[in-house]
């Protein structure tokens, strides 16, 4: 069974990743995922202002997910809405376990992801790019967050849904973020209408899909930071 865009049901859209694309940032990542385009940057750790927001035991992550007004067919209001704020919150949470935050008490790490072009799965693309930008910034990483959407469309369990698939009559769309290689679920958001058996299947498709994203993330890191000598 192939899909509207001729992919296999467990196949990701083409993903292109480049690290270190924003000179002024401590770390950055450009990511194309199908027709999604995301740039993520990291600034910090830096002192937290106002000071009462600081945590004396660890760094605080300030993650902002944003969609450019021109990223969708009807212009998006640039003022962040409830959806943007909620995605920012849970994605920031998802990154907490990937970084050794205890090394930087009283600081903030600013992580910004901007969606330049959107075609379903933007929160997963943004989170995937953000975790790479953190690695590019040289932050002490415990792992990478690999995120992807999985779900159901036209009666099939599919990985990485497109907008057309999200709009099918029986669509279920789950965003899953997995801390790799530990294989721990750090992000999960879903709405739809699905029985227990099918949903277990959807979760397992998503977790396996995250492993594929992780392989691409590792490749992108090695492209910018190649191994030397015998390790090559």
């Amino acid at each position: 069974m192939t899909r509207l865009d001729n992919r296999q049901i467990d196949q990701l859209r083409p993903i292109n990743i480049k690290l270190g694309v924003v000179k002024s940032a401590d770390g950055s990542c450009y990511l194309e995922w199908g027709r999604n385009i995301v740039i993520a940057t990291v600034h910090g750790p830096k002192p937290m202002f106002p000071k009462h927001l600081a945590d004396s035991t660890k760094a605080v992550i300030d993650y902002r997910y944003r969609m450019a007004p021109f990223s969708v067919s009807d212009r998006k209001n640039p003022v962040p809405g409830k959806r943007d704020k909620e995605i920012s919150l849970v994605s920031g949470f998802a990154l907490e376990k990937a970084i050794d935050l205890e090394q930087f008490p009283n600081t903030v790490i600013d992580i910004n992801s901007i969606i330049l072009s959107a075609d379903a799965g933007t929160r997963a693309a943004a989170l995937t790019a953000a975790s790479l930008a953190c690695a590019d910034a040289g932050l002490p990483m415990k792992g990478l967050v690999s995120a992807v959407a999985s779900g159901r469309a036209n009666g099939e369990f599919v990985l990485d849904l497109t907008k057309d698939e999200e709009d099918t009559f029986d669509a279920v769309d789950t965003a899953i973020g997995v801390l790799m290689p530990q294989n721990e679920i750090v992000l999960m958001q879903m709405d739809g209408f699905v029985n227990q058996k099918d949903w277990k299947k959807i979760i397992s498709v998503g977790v396996k899909g995250a492993e594929k994203v992780y392989e691409l993330q590792k490749k992108a890191i090695l492209e910018k930071y190649p191994l030397e000598g015998d390790l090559q």
Binding site: K82, R83, K85, E86, L89, V90, F93, E96, K97, T174, L179, Q182, N183, E184, I185, V186, L187, M188, Q189, M190, D191, G192, F193, V194, N195, Q196, W199, K200, I203, S204, V207
Partner: protein, 265 residues
């Protein structure tokens, strides 16, 4: 509950959880006592006052006439808003909605919305032009944990108690309510059920002290054994097995809670 008590109690919560016990004596998979009163606000089209243990939420329903969304020209719509203001906790402040209120409100809203238990097609007034918009405003009166589920229960109870207003000759909302209830499918009522993980143990319906101690949350929206929404929150993580354990637990809890909510009708 001021935050110093949370800090003092965090040790106790943790110590007890290791033995599978909780500060208030509940089992890990036990909800607090749920009390619901409906019709508590005369000025609202529907209302409910929910007490889940010491957490109290009031929900009130108001209608407006609005334009339909372009992709659903003959369907009404709804909007859920949660206010966490200084009235309910020393940790909340009056002002623009804080991020917690936005998240809790959206998680409760998603459970209600994706269940499709309200037939919005029956809330169209003039196809393509005018529809009923249902505003569900929820206000926390006392915050003692699990505001997501308490908000969802309050919104549900208020919607079940709602009468649709009579329209005037210009299709505007009149002063009187009709005797018509909302077009609700009683077999599709969604419940939100929230878990926290402390010391690798999963517990249901957390109190504020337990939320303070925990670093991992999971909320499910479900109709019997059909899952309609979910959200993982806070900085910790779950394994695939733990997610499946929580789904099983939530399905087991559905019947006892839905009985309380249906008893209001």
């Amino acid at each position: 509950m001021s935050s110093i008590l949370n800090i003092v109690n965090a040790d106790n919560v943790l110590k007890l959880i290791k033995e599978g016990k909780r500060l208030d004596g509940r089992n890990l998979d036990e909800f607090r006592n749920l009390e619901i009163k409906t019709g508590v606000i005369p000025s609202a089209a529907g209302s409910a006052w929910v007490k889940l243990g010491n957490t109290e939420i009031i929900a009130g329903i108001k209608f407006a006439v609005g334009s339909p969304y372009p992709d659903s020209p003959d369907e009404g719509s709804m909007s859920l808003n949660l206010e966490l203001t200084g009235i309910s906790s020393p940790d909340f402040f009056t002002g623009p909605p804080q991020i917690d209120a936005i998240e809790y409100g959206r998680v409760a809203d998603r459970a209600l919305r994706s269940s499709e238990f309200i037939d919005f097609k029956k809330l169209s007034i003039v196809s393509g032009e005018k529809v009923f918009v249902i505003f569900i405003d929820c206000i926390a009166i006392n915050a003692d944990g699990n505001l997501i589920d308490a908000t969802e229960f309050a919104a549900l109870a208020a919607l079940l108690n709602t009468k649709i207003p009579i329209l005037d000759e210009n299709n505007n909302i009149g002063k009187e309510l009709s005797s018509d209830s909302l077009p609700i499918d009683l077999n599709k009522i969604p419940l939100s059920i929230t878990f926290e993980k402390i010391d690798n143990k999963i517990l249901i319906d957390p109190t504020e002290e337990e939320e303070f101690t925990s670093n991992t949350r999971f909320s499910l929206g479900l109709i019997k054994d059909t899952i309609v929404s979910c959200q993982k929150s806070k900085g910790g993580s779950f394994s695939e097995d733990e997610i499946n354990i929580m789904i099983d637990l939530a399905i087991k809890k559905y019947d006892s809670i839905i009985k309380i909510i249906k008893s209001l009708i």
